[in-house]
Symmetry: C2
Subunit: 157 residues, 2 copies
């Protein structure tokens, strides 16, 4: 899942102050140490996007495979950093929001669990010191949106 090429190579080059230019095959991106500058992203932002994107793709892929129709899938991810160095995320909140005509709670929870415990390669690289809190909401068009808390997952490669 989430990209299957065995080797991935990126090149980054210093441009100015703490700005860097990224090259990935023919694609480019800008990095900066502060988000307050143009279109650049910070490394810590990209880390969160990598995690959210990885698990979102898994969930979408699993729901598709199981023919559970998903009309909408959003993932909101929030990272909270430590004060001390290294100021990694001591907590990451992931909220999946799904909508579809006949979504079942157990099916959604199973898809999230498979991603968190089996498929998500980004998730599998993250140390236990980073606490993940996972919630999800389901809207099926008929009933009002329901919110659930996912039992804490742990993946140990």
């Amino acid at each position: 899942m989430s990209g299957s090429e065995k080797q991935v190579i990126a090149k980054i080059r210093h441009s100015d102050a703490l700005k860097f230019d990224v090259e990935l095959d023919s694609r480019t991106m800008e990095l900066n140490s502060t988000k307050k500058m143009g279109r650049a992203f910070t490394p810590m932002e990209l880390f969160l996007v990598a995690l959210a994107g990885c698990t979102a793709m898994d969930v979408q892929w699993i729901m598709d495979k199981e023919r559970q129709k998903v009309d909408r899938l959003d993932v909101v991810i929030k990272g909270t950093r430590r004060e001390e160095d290294p100021s990694y995320y001591e907590r990451i909140d992931i909220r999946y929001a799904l909508a579809g005509p006949n979504l079942r709670k157990d099916g959604v929870e199973r898809a999230i669990r498979l991603s968190q415990e089996k498929y998500c390669s980004v998730r599998a690289m993250i140390k236990d010191a980073v606490k993940l809190r996972i919630t999800y909401t389901i809207a099926d068009g008929a009933k009002p949106e329901q919110e659930y808390t996912f039992p804490t997952a742990s993946a140990n490669p």
Copy 2:
């Protein structure tokens, strides 16, 4: 280092197949499960860029602080994935290439060490199952470029 806001929030929304749109404040990005599509990035690509960018910013920042003039700083990062699920990077090679008029090997190595062991927040979240191999090259304009292997670092939050 590498962005200091305490909370970071990203929103991603499914668009089509395994494509997702990312929103980070007012900035946007596209994600896809394969790199062979337009300007999108895969989650695993972003993970590598996050790690390379984080440590590159640290090294630049430390060298600046110590008044060691750096004319050029490139970081090339290569991740090699496992075959099995989760197919995380079982190995990541990071090569720093620095050029400057009076760069000292011990100064460069110290900057890399401080990043790997103390400052790099992305590095600090990565499990030991991911093996990091670190090399660096120094070009000072007079002598030919020298290549060094960095003793394996381990950071344990």
